[in-house]
Amino acid sequence: MEEKSTKNKKWKYQKIMQEMEEIFQDISANYSQKLVYNLLNAIKSNNQREFFWEVLRVLNTKSKKAEKVADLCKDIGSLYPLSFSEFEKVAFSIILGIISAQGGEQNE
């Protein structure tokens, strides 16, 4: 059971990362860099409140992709409340999604 739940969570983190990537496709490189910096600093100080405040503030501006944003928020919400270790994983999934959006085409 425990293993199943771990796999399930991993799948959720992956989904969050993909959704972030899709939502942030049209973000500028400069803004993305600034956002990632702020988010990384929030993780470093383990400040969940600041981290999600920043994420939700940006998501709120993505009215063109409202449906995707709603899905993402549902996925994040379903994981709540987050332990420290879970927060670490969700937060990095979000950031990796933003960086991936800037990463260009897959090179595999």
Partner: protein
Amino acid sequence: MKNTELYTFLQFTGNWFIDAGILGFVNLMEEVYGWDLEELQERIKENEDIVYYGYFPIAYVHYNNYSYLENEKRLFYWLKTKDLKFPEFKNALEREEIFSKVWKFIEKHYKNKDKIKLSFSGKFVIFTNFLFFQPKWKVDQQREAFREILELKNFSEETLIYVDKTINKFLPSKGEFQNLLYGKSFITVFDLKKVIKLPLVFLLTFPLGFEKLGKENFCFYAPELKFSYKVNKKLKILEELSNKEKKSSSKRRILTFLWREVIDALVETKSLWTLENMYIIEYQMGQNQNLLKAEYIGIPKLQASVLIDDKIRDALNCHIQLGKGAREAQIWLIEKFIKGEGLYEKILKHTNYALKQNKNPGFKASLYALAIDAKIKENAENSSKALFSNDFFRGYKFLVDEIKETYLLLASRANLISQLFENEEEKSKLVYPLFSALKKKNRISFVNTLLKKFTELSKKENLSPLIKFIFENIISNDVSWENYALALIIGILTSRGGENGGEIHEE
């Protein structure tokens, strides 16, 4: 009853201390008569009675008296120099007749002051107070004891019936079998007779199964006679060479050498199955016939299954530098792996050393070691906690495949990360905080540092596979994330173009 019994040739029983005795028997016959295993087997097949009742007692007595003299060891040479004749054994002779001929020869040539002088030095020193070795025993008593050993008469000596420390120092003594209500030892000669013919002969030749290397006695044991014989014979050659060159035979040198021989013998005898049942038995003898140290280095099935693979074995078969100093700071990866020591810690130290010395860590060996360590940790986490899981019986074949896949993944991502940065300074600036985070096991700090660097990059074409790698193996992996993280650091370090930092492969 000639040649009609179960065993008409020598073979191992699966019990290591009887098997060490069988090996000792083979060594004894080789030392005294110059026969190798094949010839001995032929002779046993031809007429085993002549070998056990004729050649063996003479060889045993002769070796006890002359083993210390290089040239006199070989019996036929000794006979020639003294112009003596070896007794003739005709095929039709009965056991008792063969033995009485042999004993006449022994009494004539080895008797001194009404006794056969035995065990005053050498390997048989452990038997000083046992049967015919006792200084007080006269030749008649010695003969009768020999007859008992060869089962030509019923056992009258208790020590021969209850097998304990008196016969083999690796066993407990009478008093130490504390949980026995009756009897002196739970191993009796009658039990052993069910396993092998003439068991006492092999208990006597036990010390000869070992090679003396320095102060210690070594025996390499795998449950196949031919295989063990080949490896131990080469071990002996090593010792002879070391003595001639006056080099010390350190344990590390022996193990390095031994392993090479094991692989050679494996290929030669095609007995891969023995690999997972090998032991190195090592002991040191004290003054009062005490064993000072006995070590059994078993090679666990998991490690053996992994080492069977050529590529993995070749990659691990090297020494890596963990610090300054020629010998002490070098480790042999295969040895550490066999002993079940964590390879991640070793590679972390190796990378630390390389970083301090501004050198490159060994790329292939390090990444293979990290892949092996990661897969073993993950396997332990995911598999059932049963002692003998299904994987145990399947022989961990899947693990070997997974290790190779992981190595390829680590190597490709290590290469990829090295291509992201354009100049040396940039790489050096990044490596120190990453390594410091890893040493503190601080995943947040590690990923933080790395991602900050990623956002600063002007070229972001190759980022996708790396991001996937970081997500799957570092962020979502609580069991072995350090292994994957270290591989990235090694990737950055080895691309700096510095000199090799100590991955010395075995030749």
